[in-house]
Subunit: 153 residues, 2 copies
DNA sequence: GCACTTGCTTGCAAAATGCAAGTGCTTGCT
DNA sequence: AGCAAGCACTTGCATTTTGCAAGCAAGTGC
């Protein structure tokens, strides 16, 4: 195992919220998975692997485990294929969206423009609230299809 | 040297803003320094060392170097003591505040309550805009005293 | 001159990461 | 039923990053 699962219940090394939040999402990969789940409708292992950042399989497995442990993400087996799994954001995970959107805003202001994210750039700048509801609606849509039997998320 | 300075000009491994932002602030330490500079009026090396997270001296030196390289932070020698340095946030660095505040909000919602941050908790929840202007005013105050000769920040 | 502070650097052990190659389960095809 | 292929991982190992303790030069206070 690459790393032990860090639950929020484990001993905090700091009394500061920021520090404790960073213990969960403060690394190069975790928020990228949240991004994929939130904005790019990705739900499967292989889809995360296909992201442009090229996450290694061991890191991906490790981060998914942590996200599950933290309760940011849930999983089910694919209804049509037992050998596949579907990952989805819980409300705790979805609530990271404001953080991501602020990062997008900051990036839009200070980073060299990237074509691929121009779409979200514009939507964040024009009407962030609209974007949020659109994103959440889209996820709800998916959940209705895939999770209808469950009371999760 | 612990790590090479990663400028935003270096080759991006992804076209995604989130990814590129995380290359700058996506680690356990960088945002804690920004937090100290922004909310706790810390400006000196030894003050960062005194934070409850206990950053190691080599990591601190490395992160300060990176923050300077990225243009998030500026430095001057202490006007009254040549052997001390003063670090301060540029506007690029200050503009990370919304990200930090969203982290505080998320932490307030999902993390076990911590006494030490209750103050900022309340201020974020009650009136985020007021908090922002208060924080920025406080920094400006400091800058007027310390940086009066310079046109920086 | 001398002890002390300050902002680092250095050396080394431990941990996290990245890469390539498995492993075991399921599935589709014949 | 048999077999190749897909899928979600795991494993081993080299490289990189962290963490800790110790040092060190430049300045300051006496």
């Amino acid at each position: 195992m690459t790393a032990k699962a860090a639950t929020s219940k484990s001993i905090q090394r700091s009394p500061c919220v920021v520090s404790n939040v960073l213990e969960i999402i403060g690394d190069r990969w975790t928020l990228l998975l949240v991004r994929d789940l939130l904005f790019f409708n990705k739900h499967e292992y292989k889809e995360f692997l296909a992201s442009p950042e090229n996450i290694a399989t061991n890191i991906l497995a490790d981060r998914l485990k942590k996200l599950l442990n933290e309760g940011l993400v849930g999983e089910i087996i694919h209804p049509e294929n037992k050998s596949r799994k579907l990952y989805y954001l819980t409300s705790k995970g979805k609530d990271l969206m404001p953080i991501l959107l602020e990062m997008v805003k900051w990036g839009a202001a200070y980073l060299p423009e990237t074509k691929e994210m121009k779409l979200i750039f514009e939507r964040v700048k024009n009407d962030p609230e609209l974007l949020k509801t659109q994103v959440l609606d889209s996820l709800e849509q998916w959940e209705k299809q895939m999770l209808k039997a469950n009371g999760t998320a």
